[in-house]
Symmetry: C2
Subunit: 301 residues, 2 copies
């Protein structure tokens, strides 16, 4: 393997959404017990990103913190709490990372969709793909969704670094600690940190030759009434089928009288099916295309 960039600082954040207890409570635990995150070749920084939203068990106080990061710093006078909090997090991180930003960011989330153990990538950096392949070698059910952040809007906490991703686990209800998911998430984070350690030492373990990537195509909203509220629900035959193929003729919605709406836009793979926080964002589910990504080329180049 060619000489690679040494990664000095790794951020592990949770509670970016205050009602996603899995990450928030793990961040709180790791702030008090940092030894779990310690590795020899880099410094790990735990962060409970939105303490104020966490303390009132809400996703956010004024606006979504995970759509509030402007790494280039365009916002001079942020008005909403989360825009100001995003700026403060960036400043804190620069203090902790010798003036720069973290080399890698793992931001912990949970979802009411049945996403299992999943990653939300915002790019196809070889580091991220290889890390994903490593995670799949240890936890075969891990999947990755590739999302393209709009450049015109403030973005994810993990957009502060090109390495790393959001970790999405579920289905878990908001405001609830599910011990199994908490321990699974901690195991996944531990494996992520192990991989950074391998990377820094220049010796990666054997990896699967390819991994599936579910790449964003478009969002699908609920049918809505004049009052803006959904008039139909995710169909029971779609519920829980994240990362599974959706084919023409499959039912996607059902209204309160039992009338069905069928899919008719060609084979695709749905993700974030019935995520609570996306009702207000106009997303019932997101469709993706499945791409098989070769990891061998990434190791050689």
């Amino acid at each position: 393997m060619k000489k690679i960039q040494h990664l000095d600082h790794v951020l592990v954040s949770g509670g970016t959404h205050g009602n996603e207890y899995t990450g928030a409570f793990l961040a709180r635990h790791w702030l008090q017990n940092p030894e779990f995150l310690r590795r020899a070749s880099f410094k790990t920084i735990p962060l409970l990103a939105n303490q104020r939203a966490f303390s009132i068990c809400r996703r956010y106080v004024e606006r979504d913190l995970n759509r509030s990061f402007h790494p280039s710093g365009e916002i001079a006078n942020p008005e909403a709490f989360e825009l100001s909090r995003a700026r403060d997090i960036e400043l804190e991180l620069r203090k902790n990372c010798a003036g720069g930003l973290p080399s890698v960011i793992f931001d912990l989330h949970s979802t009411t969709a049945q996403m299992g153990l999943s990653l939300v990538l915002t790019n196809r950096e070889p580091f991220n793909i290889l890390l994903y392949a490593y995670l799949r070698s240890k936890f075969p059910s891990v999947n990755a969704y590739l999302w393209q952040e709009p450049k015109s809007q403030p973005g994810f906490l993990n957009s502060l670094s090109k390495f790393g991703f959001a970790i999405e686990i579920g289905a878990v209800a908001n405001g609830v600690l599910n011990a199994e998911w908490v321990f699974k998430t901690a195991d996944l984070v531990s494996a992520c940190l192990d991989f950074v350690e391998f990377w820094n030492c220049g010796e990666l373990p054997a990896l699967p030759p390819s991994v599936p990537l579910y790449s964003f195509l478009n969002h699908v909203d609920y049918p809505r009434g004049d009052d803006g509220l959904p008039t139909a629900m995710i169909h029971p035959l779609l519920q829980g089928r994240d990362f599974q193929p959706l084919k023409d003729g499959d039912p996607i919605f059902i209204d309160f009288k039992g009338r069905e709406i069928l899919w008719n836009s060609g084979t695709a793979w749905a993700v974030f099916i019935n995520e609570a926080a996306y009702y207000e964002k106009g997303i019932a589910f997101t469709v993706t295309e499945k791409i098989e990504v070769n990891t061998v080329d990434l190791l050689i180049n």
Copy 2:
């Protein structure tokens, strides 16, 4: 069967907690489509109880509406929104029920606990026990939890009537429509209304000779740290075991380091295990005793 009281007005309410979408959306649907609730011998009144909390997808605006009803009207100047809303609901109902209160109230809730299809009774009125028995004859998985409301505090919406109960279904995340649970809840409500019709006609169908009642013993809180937050979670072996026996030596909590806490208070039956809204109420789960209630005596007396 002896001559029974004719029941004139039945309230079917949802959205008493604004983020419990199952009942809120069903109430909204039935306000627009009341024919589903129509029966020959009585008038059914659909109600979306806390529209304001529903519109912001929160349990309540200022305080729990379902702990805000004072049927005797002690609160002259309610300060919190929900105390005033409770008063308004009572006044509206009196207008709709010929000056009185509804004869029967079914109040729809959902929970993040795995309560299945369950009823929360606040008394052992023969009507309620017989209705429960009827529901079990149609839906064998239905269970009933008997809760004694503290007389010193404002209470449940359904405390406005001695007939009826809260319907609790789950596990469902807050702020989410799960179509299967929505249709199951509608089926349960329909069966409840059918029973009122049988009652009014003085002819009940054949009922199971006895039904199990899970009667409140006490609440169990999470272990908590100095900041008041839980330091341990519901143990995976307790999670989802609502209405099942809990025995000495069974693990109930697990902390973030994997250390377990075991049950040592004798055999009991746990309900509302890991309900999101009860973290702030200091309830990790509630223990009950299981009582077998004879329905034959109720039919004869």
